[in-house]
């Protein structure tokens, strides 16, 4: 079942002088099995939006429906079983490595599943499986999470969410501060989790990651949903007005168009298909 936003608005500090409308009349669906990107400039409402999905924030108006779990502005309609909702929707915050707290890596990763009601042995088994998924072997089990490298810590934190098998995984800027190699390794990890059947929701500023991994992109600006599109089609629109960086390949296509060579972009996915299209466009000129 999809995640459905029905006319969701949200304001911070309601009925105070600091009242601020952060989300405005959002209507959209996130189909099960998507690899979705959420993009937009800093302060556009991306993080506020994802916190509506697992009920860390409640809408000021409208409702969010996650597999029948309702997060509504109306208290009476809200699902009582928030814990079950949060088990299904895993949320990895930005810089999750700062949330580690246990004595050992294994205990830290097992904390989530234990909290959601698994027995100690079950939780440890789940933790071991999650650690294997993020590429950390048993030599890490008994180490303190605080003595690991930055990248390893982040993997431990992500394993802590994977360990309770969420149906939906929301990751907020998971590649911030990583070099290109580290960023692609991290994204390949999410791609494999997505392949295994988890719906992936990625909040990011990096359009190259959107192009490479995501099948759909939601664009936010000043709390409004301004585009719900495929990355390929969105990148051909005017992205500058949302302060988003057009990937090099699409910027090039736009320049070429402006300079008078119209390239058929329908089949372009990467540099090789771009080169094919250029050769074709020149031949038919």
């Amino acid at each position: 079942m999809p995640i459905i936003f029905r006319d969701v608005s949200f304001s911070y500090n309601v009925k105070s002088p600091l009242e601020h409308l952060a989300l405005s009349h959002l209507n959209f669906e996130i189909p099960t099995g998507s690899f979705l990107a959420i993009v937009g400039r800093t302060g556009c409402g991306k993080s506020t939006m994802v916190q509506q999905i697992n009920a860390l924030l409640h809408p000021t108006q409208g409702e969010v429906d996650v597999d029948g779990f309702i997060n509504s502005s109306d208290r009476k309609k809200r699902t009582k079983n928030v814990k079950d909702l949060r088990r299904r929707v895993g949320l990895v915050f930005q810089f999750p490595e700062y949330q580690l707290f246990e004595e050992t890596v294994l205990k830290d990763v097992a904390f989530g599943p234990k909290n959601f009601g698994m027995k100690k042995e079950e939780a440890e088994q789940a933790a071991k499986e999650a650690l294997a998924k993020v590429g950390l072997d048993e030599s890490f089990y008994e180490r303190s999470p605080f003595e690991l490298s930055g990248g390893e810590k982040r993997r431990v934190a992500i394993a802590g969410v994977l360990a309770y098998h969420p149906d939906y995984l929301i990751v907020d800027e998971p590649t911030a501060g990583l070099d290109p190699k580290g960023a692609f390794e991290m994204m390949d990890l999410f791609a494999s989790i997505h392949q295994a059947g988890t719906t992936l929701i990625l909040v990011t500023h990096d359009m190259n990651l959107v192009l490479r991994y995501c099948d759909r992109v939601l664009v936010f600006d000043h709390g409004e949903l301004v585009a719900n599109d495929t990355p390929q089609s969105f990148f051909q629109s005017d992205m500058d007005r949302y302060s988003l960086e057009t990937p090099a390949l699409y910027r090039f296509l736009q320049e070429m168009k402006a300079k008078g060579l119209d390239i058929d972009s329908s089949s372009i996915e990467d540099l090789d298909t771009l080169a094919d299209a250029i050769v074709k466009a020149r031949a038919s000129k």
Partner: protein, 274 residues
């Protein structure tokens, strides 16, 4: 050959005994040129930067700055001719306003107060921050912060500026601001030598010389054109090739002849549209 501003000769460095982080690095950077050292995290490029800046002093081999050997007795004198822009813009502010911050280095070198205002204004102008002199550095965007840091460095009239991952924490807009500024600085000061330690290959596409480091060794060194012709080999060490070079090679593979003088993306666009 113009005189070498920086020469590195057979540089070795170890953090722990028996395990070398730098395994014999040699290169030289001529006066007025722009060199980029690229490599992914853990390649040894930051260690190399620290050796050149005199922050790692226990290296073997030689670092020559302005023709003089870097040593404990020469390091302070040599460093006074080098400007360094670090990765995290928040870690390099000392003043409570942009103007104070640019003034800090000048005060340290006893520039008379009456001259200072004019100097500060002219260097803030060079980086396009003259309207922000009374602003608090904390309130600026990442790109603006790095521009202030660069103006503070320029005000010291260095012969060599080292950028140590200076754009790594900036968003795409901030990065572009800095690249444009570097381009302008080079046009305005033809004698200024720049060394950038980076993992951004698009930046390296604009350099005169690219040095690729992997596992403590130089694996490629030369002009961007030479270095980035090794697309496959670079991919094996997790480095990609700038858009222009990657596309040009693919077009040539498809039988398109592209003249020598088409050596930048705008020129390639023009050529293809002709």
């Amino acid at each position: 050959m113009p005189e070498a501003i920086l020469e590195v000769k057979d540089l070795h460095f170890s953090y722990e005994a028996g395990k070398e982080t730098l395994k014999g690095i040699s290169f030289s950077v001529p006066k007025g040129s722009y060199a980029c050292v690229i490599g992914h995290n853990g390649s040894g490029k930051s260690t190399l930067a620290k050796c050149i800046m005199g922050l790692n002093s226990t290296f073997k081999g030689d670092v020559l700055l302005f023709g003089e050997k870097l040593s404990p007795s020469s390091v302070y004198r040599l460093r006074s001719r080098i400007g360094i822009v670090f990765q995290n813009p928040d870690n390099q502010f000392v003043g409570s306003t942009v103007a104070d911050d640019i003034a800090f280095g000048l005060e340290n070198t006893q520039v008379p107060t009456e001259q200072m205002e004019e100097i500060i204004h002219s260097f803030a102008k060079q980086v396009g921050m003259e309207d922000f002199l009374e602003h608090e550095p904390q309130m600026l965007s990442g790109g603006q912060k790095q521009r202030v840091a660069i103006s503070g460095v320029l005000a010291m009239k260095p012969s060599l500026i080292i950028f140590d991952e200076a754009t790594a924490m900036l968003d795409p807009k901030g990065k572009k601001e800095i690249y444009a500024l570097v381009e302008r600085m080079r046009q305005e000061n033809p004698d200024l030598t720049l060394l950038s330690i980076t993992h951004d290959v698009e930046e390296a596409a604009n350099a005169d010389q690219v040095i690729v480091i992997n596992d403590g060794n130089i694996v490629y060194s030369g002009t961007p054109k030479e270095v980035f012709s090794h697309e496959k080999e670079l991919k094996e060490i997790s480095l990609h090739v700038p858009f222009f070079f990657a596309l040009k090679r693919r077009l040539e593979d498809r039988g398109l002849e592209i003249p020598e003088d088409v050596d930048s993306l705008p020129l390639l666009e023009d050529y293809l549209c002709r």
